[in-house]
Symmetry: C2
Subunit: 211 residues, 2 copies
Amino acid sequence: MVPPRASGGDKRRMILDAAVVAFARRGFHACRVSDIADEANVAYGLVYHYFRSKDEILDTLFLDRWNVLLAFIAQTAAERTPPRDKLHAIAAAIIDFYRYDPALMKVIIVEVMRSANTFGLRHTDKIAEAYVLIGEIVASGQATGSFKREVSPRFAALAFYGAIEQVLTGWIFGMLPEGDEEFDRAKSAIVETICGGLDDMSYRAASVRSV
Amino acid sequence: MVPPRASGGDKRRMILDAAVVAFARRGFHACRVSDIADEANVAYGLVYHYFRSKDEILDTLFLDRWNVLLAFIAQTAAERTPPRDKLHAIAAAIIDFYRYDPALMKVIIVEVMRSANTFGLRHTDKIAEAYVLIGEIVASGQATGSFKREVSPRFAALAFYGAIEQVLTGWIFGMLPEGDEEFDRAKSAIVETICGGLDDMSYRAASVRSV
DNA sequence: CCCGCAGTTGACTGACCAGTCAATCCGGGA
DNA sequence: TCCCGGATTGACTGGTCAGTCAACTGCGGG
């Protein structure tokens, strides 16, 4: 799998790591290939020895990480735990991805997930896979009766993922305080909002009674 | 307010409308200023008579629309209706913005809201205003007891807005079917998910009872 | 009738940058 | 030792555009 010479894969890895830093700092468009090469301490041309284009670097960054995430979601979905726990595990995984490599997650969210006309469309199907898996979790929750049937699994999946992405975006752009405590609180808050809802049931019951 | 000569404001308006079409078609980056001028049937240079730069056109497009939306949210928040109805009204307004001018909403979502490193950051404060207003609705719902207090208003606002944006994104990229019926269903589905939650309370109560 | 100016035109410039390529380096096998 | 081929280098090219500017038009006031 790994080429015999360490330096070969080594430099490739260095370029990839440098690209994360460079893309995260200035954004994909504003970042020049020479920025990546400089950051990696490598000659300009070497970037094109390992990658066909600047785009391919971003694609690689995204796909490597996204496939790991998809595998995790699929595995989680297959387990025999309550659907609410599954959603919590998925929210936790995504948030921890950000916690342990914020620059890479920033690049993936900002430059791929959220950048429609350029890269998003190239990976629409890959992204949709995640929605489908999450939707299946919701559907099976409805089938066993732990989730109600008012909301279609598809919408629920979008709402769930959308909430997570919005919170990540808040961290990425410094609109929300970061920290281990905030990360863990966010996991619970998202799941509590989507699963538990905002409505206070006792209040609701009271007002229904009073009618 | 309107300049005496119709043609002056007229051309400006034509350029703005053409920009919406051009940005929506190819994306802000891929779209050249000449594309806008062509679309508007106007000379290249005239674009620079009315706007300082290509960026300023996008800014104008965004701010004009966003201010209308902010005003609507503020007005809705001030009314004396249940918080759940307020959230429904806001979701409806955003979705109807898309329904009646999909190209403009696409540009705003894709090129401003979702395009961090370039434009998003320039308008972070404007965008945050919406979050704050929505958060206040949630907070007042908690104060009157119709919303429970487990979730912080700030997170609830992010989740609510995130769910809407995700659904809009689904329409924009053709991942979700569009249509009047879908639009109305989405409004209810989003509010039902965020307010009502996915959990089936009767199931929950039953399993608690059985313990 | 002429002047002035806002509105309008489009060719041109200057900068930028992705991607190319010919040259060089260097390790290992014969 | 010599040769081969992958790794590495960075100057250079080609094309793309945002933004400039000098020139033209036509209307309204003097």
